[in-house]
């Protein structure tokens, strides 16, 4: 989701953050705070808004689901930023520097955040508990060496090596998108104790597919900015494999599919029309961001895809939800 932009290099080859003596301290502090807020806290906020919008779309009572999923998002992204801080130095130096310097504090915050989310979910019942565990479980398979280690255990001779999910082309983004689709769509139902049938199974399935497609786009768009760093680390992403133009076309196609899914959801009549309209506005923002992927600066590209949900949330509030 949110990513910190790469600072432009100076003519002498240094980057801005390494020339802090030339920068007023207050602006440096401000930049650090901005980088921190644009990191895991922003991801948490976006996730909470996503769940709230989907809650409205499904017409289920508001519950603790947005808070719980927001806390999980914060925890997972904070842990991810800490785990990959050294590798992120090239693409998101300020965020990586924060993650390196405050690794322990960030991990304590992430751990407490996840603990709180699990407690909220446990209070809502077994289904909600299972749901909040999904993103954490996916992250463990996605970013840690647990899968390769397990693979080595199964095949100790090294004939078959299991890579990190994060390093597998397309599957990496799909796994993240799937985890968020499960959490975002199922959490409102589970936390409110509403069965899928009551909410309308077709509408739930279509919204799930929509969030999955949108999350996939949101994950891949920032990769346009990270193409050099990912290529250097051997991580296969759409921009690394198909280039920026190919990526833009592919993601626009996915957005088009998302639009179709949104229309189909509306056709079921089970979803809230204002919420679907708000999601439509958000989708339009997403399409714009995707179209401008190679023109937007690093800062904008880091947060713009996720801003589509914030726009959707704002629209929903504006039209009186």
């Amino acid at each position: 989701m949110a990513n910190e932009p790469t600072r432009p290099s100076a003519p002498d080859g240094t980057t801005a953050q390494y020339r802090s003596h030339a920068t007023p301290s207050d602006s440096g502090t401000l930049r650090l705070v901005a980088a921190f807020v644009a990191g895991a806290p922003f991801a948490g906020l976006v996730a909470a808004v996503e769940v709230a919008v989907v809650t409205a779309a499904l017409g289920v009572p508001l519950s603790a689901a947005p808070v719980a999923v927001g806390l999980v998002a914060f925890a997972v992204y904070a842990a991810d930023h800490v785990a990959d801080a050294e590798g992120d130095i090239g693409s998101t130096p300020v965020r990586a520097r924060i993650a390196l310097r405050y690794a322990d504090q960030l991990m304590v915050a992430a751990a407490v955040s996840y603990g709180l989310a699990v407690a909220l979910a446990a209070g809502a019942g077994p289904a909600a508990l299972a749901l909040v565990l999904v993103p954490g479980a996916v992250w463990i398979g996605y970013a840690t060496d647990w899968l390769p280690a397990a693979g080595d255990l199964v095949a100790p001779l090294g004939e078959v090596s299991v890579p990190r999910l994060k390093d597998v082309f397309l599957l990496n983004s799909a796994a993240v998108a799937l985890a968020w689709a499960v959490a975002v769509v199922a959490a409102p139902l589970a936390f409110a104790g509403v069965p899928v049938d009551s909410a309308g199974a077709p509408a739930v399935a279509l919204l799930f597919a929509y969030v999955f497609a949108r999350s996939f786009v949101d994950v891949e768009v920032p990769n346009v900015r990270d193409v050099a760093a990912d290529a250097a680390r051997g991580v296969a992403t759409l921009p690394v494999v198909y280039g920026v133009s190919g990526t833009r076309r592919a993601l626009l196609a996915v957005d088009a599919v998302a639009a179709g899914l949104l229309a189909a959801t509306a056709a079921t009549g089970a979803a809230s029309t204002p919420a679907l309209a708000a999601l439509g506005v958000g989708l339009a923002v997403s399409v714009t961001v995707t179209a401008l992927a190679d023109r937007l600066g690093g800062a904008a590209l880091g947060v713009a895809p996720d801003c589509s949900y914030l726009v959707a949330g704002a629209v929903l509030l504006a039209i009186g939800w």
Binding site: D104, M107, A111, G115, L116, V118, L120, A122, G123, G125
Partner: protein, 596 residues
């Protein structure tokens, strides 16, 4: 779902804190104990979480289901605690797949019984739903297995607490803090469970143990953050101390109060050729070299170590022994640690300085005075051939002294790598030197085994042979050299029919020090002694009938050569492959006692 009961809210606080601590503990892998602490905390979270479900369920079957699920967490806690404590405090050798499987038998059986629906009412004889002021509980009447797993849990908890309690008295403040926090974190649920089992809790069916997990979580979080639990674990200290003991370059023995050997380090085993497995438990007198002499080093003597000549694997070396008492917390002596310090190099250096000092102070000065005196005589009578001859002889002796001093220096040059040569070559070289000194001498060479020996032996034999013929006043001096190999030792004898060596020379060599009144007549015998000492060997002198001397030198065979082929491609001496006896002389047999 309806509003949560206050009890559930309290449990969810425990879940929050416990899960946060579990994640932080898991992150510290592979630090000692991290994984097991995460298991322990996850067990607590599991128990508390499913207790919430049990509390919030409205029917008896639903409550019973969640009650049974809780067993997974209940049994994981003591197992996690035990192995965490062992790994964290450095007893990780007890944390093996086998021990984990063994300890897990009863917990796994308990979970299996719960999963099977508690056949035979092993876990619960009866289950009743009770309405109370603080919530709806499942009141369980325990079955026999319940008491078994409860007792087993207490047992594992107590065993795991032992090494942590030891840390409370540790000198290091962080470890005291860590262990205190951990013990508090463990004691809180225990207290809750004891209250439940003893019926002290006024609300029927309420087991406050999971509620106390909130205290545990806070304590563990405090230990993790404030006292740097896991990032500053005491586990390596036991290993490090053991490593220092094992890798110490001095031989060390630990002898119990009953005089039995408790332990010895690798250096002791290697130096004295001792099999550790056989030696431990044996009387120290049969294993520790010169134990009878060392055991007398009590009280004040212990502070004044003295050199003790001991035959080690590489021959006879002088060691200094120090004895230290091992005292327990009640000031009782539980064992004695005997440490041997190899002082051969130090004593040898001191000895060489003494001799060289004497050579310069006495021998050189005498010769110089002689030269000066006869030079004066030549000045008054330039035709005095005798004076000229004496000056030449004196200068020759000084030159020879100078050469021998240089040889002595080279013997102990630490930059020189130890070279080996066949014994036959060493003998031939020594004989050639003797022939050069006394061309008329009758020199016999007996049987010489073709084993590899250090080249230092060549210097030793060269000095012995030249001394044998040089200091022989017979018209045709006789000398014989023999060399035999036995039990890994080379025994070379040099016999002559000369006037014999003055006993005062032996005396000085034996004492190892010279005084202005008691000193040797040259440096040749010292070179022989130093060379033999350097090789870890032994030298002895015998008188011959009717006249003459037999000098016997015993040195270890050089075994740095590749086994399987002797020098010059000849097969090695069969003695080299003989199994070495296990006594104080190490992997070699004792040097043949040539007597005196």
């Amino acid at each position: 779902m309806a509003a949560l009961s206050p009890l559930s809210v309290a449990l969810l606080v425990a879940v929050t804190v416990g899960l946060a601590a579990a994640i932080l503990a898991w992150r510290e892998r592979p630090e000692p104990g991290a994984t097991w602490l995460a298991v322990l905390l996850t067990g607590q979270v599991w128990w508390a979480t499913f207790l919430v479900f049990e509390l919030e369920a409205t029917t008896l079957p639903a409550k019973a289901l969640w009650y049974d699920v809780q067993w997974v967490g209940v049994v994981a806690i003591p197992v996690g605690w035990l192995f965490f404590a062992l790994a964290y405090t450095g007893y990780d050798r007890y944390v093996t797949p086998f021990s984990v499987a063994l300890v897990s038998v009863i917990p796994v059986a308990t979970v299996a019984v719960a999963a099977a629906g508690d056949p035979g009412d092993l876990l619960a004889v009866d289950r009743v739903v009770r309405e109370t002021a603080v919530g709806t509980f499942l009141d369980v009447v325990p079955g026999p297995l319940y008491y078994v797993i409860a007792g087993y849990t207490y047992l594992l908890g107590a065993v795991g607490s032992v090494p942590l309690i030891q840390l409370i008295r540790d000198d290091a403040r962080p470890f005291r803090g860590q262990s205190a926090a951990l013990l508090v974190g463990t004691a809180a649920p225990w207290a809750g469970n004891l209250a439940h089992l003893s019926g002290a809790v006024p609300i029927p069916g309420l087991d406050p143990t999971p509620l106390a997990f909130a205290v545990s979580g806070v304590a563990y979080l405090l230990a993790l953050s404030r006292f740097r639990l896991l990032t500053l674990a005491p586990a390596p200290r036991r290993r490090a101390r053991q490593l220092v003991f094992e890798q110490l370059h001095d031989p060390v023995f630990v002898v119990g109060t009953e005089g039995l050997l408790v332990d010895l380090n690798e250096c002791a085993a290697e130096t004295f050729g001792i099999d550790r497995r056989d030696a431990i438990g044996e009387p120290a007198a049969t294993v520790v070299p010169k134990y009878d002499a060392i055991r007398e080093l009590d009280g004040t003597d212990a502070d004044k170590p003295r050199p003790i000549p001991i035959v080690g694997r590489d021959g006879q070396r002088p060691y200094e022994a120090t004895v230290r008492d091992v005292v327990d917390d009640h000031d009782r002596t539980t064992a004695r640690v005997i440490t041997f310090h190899d002082v051969g190099a130090y004593l040898g250096q001191q000895q060489r300085l003494n001799v060289l000092n004497r050579v310069f102070r006495h021998d050189v000065r005498t010769e110089t005075n002689l030269i000066q005196g006869y030079a004066e005589q030549l000045r008054s009578d330039p035709t005095d051939e005798r004076a000229l001859s004496i000056i030449e002889e004196s200068a020759g002796r000084m030159l020879e002294l100078s050469e021998r001093t240089r040889t002595a220096g080279e013997l102990f040059d630490p930059t020189e790598e130890s070279e080996t040569a066949p014994l036959t070559d060493a003998v031939d070289e020594a004989v050639a030197e003797a022939r050069a000194v006394a061309p008329d001498a009758r020199i016999e060479v007996g049987q010489v085994a073709p084993v590899p020996v250090p080249v230092v032996l060549e210097v030793v034999l060269g000095n012995l042979c030249t001394n044998a013929v040089r200091h022989n006043d017979a018209d045709a001096p006789w000398m014989r050299i023999d060399a035999a190999v036995a039990d890994g030792w080379v025994e070379v004898t040099v016999a002559d029919d000369g006037p014999g060596i003055d006993p005062a020379e032996y005396d000085v060599l034996d004492r190892g020090t010279e005084t202005p009144l008691r000193h040797g007549s040259g440096i040749g015998l010292w070179i022989v002694k130093w060379g033999v000492d350097h090789l870890g060997g032994r030298i002895s002198f015998d008188e011959r009938e009717p006249t003459g001397t037999v000098v016997t030198v015993c040195v270890p065979v050089d075994r740095s050569e590749t086994p399987g082929a002797g020098p010059d491609g000849e097969p090695p001496d069969p003695h080299l492959d003989d199994p070495a006896p296990s006594d104080e002389s190490g992997s070699l047999g004792p040097p043949p006692n040539a007597g005196r």
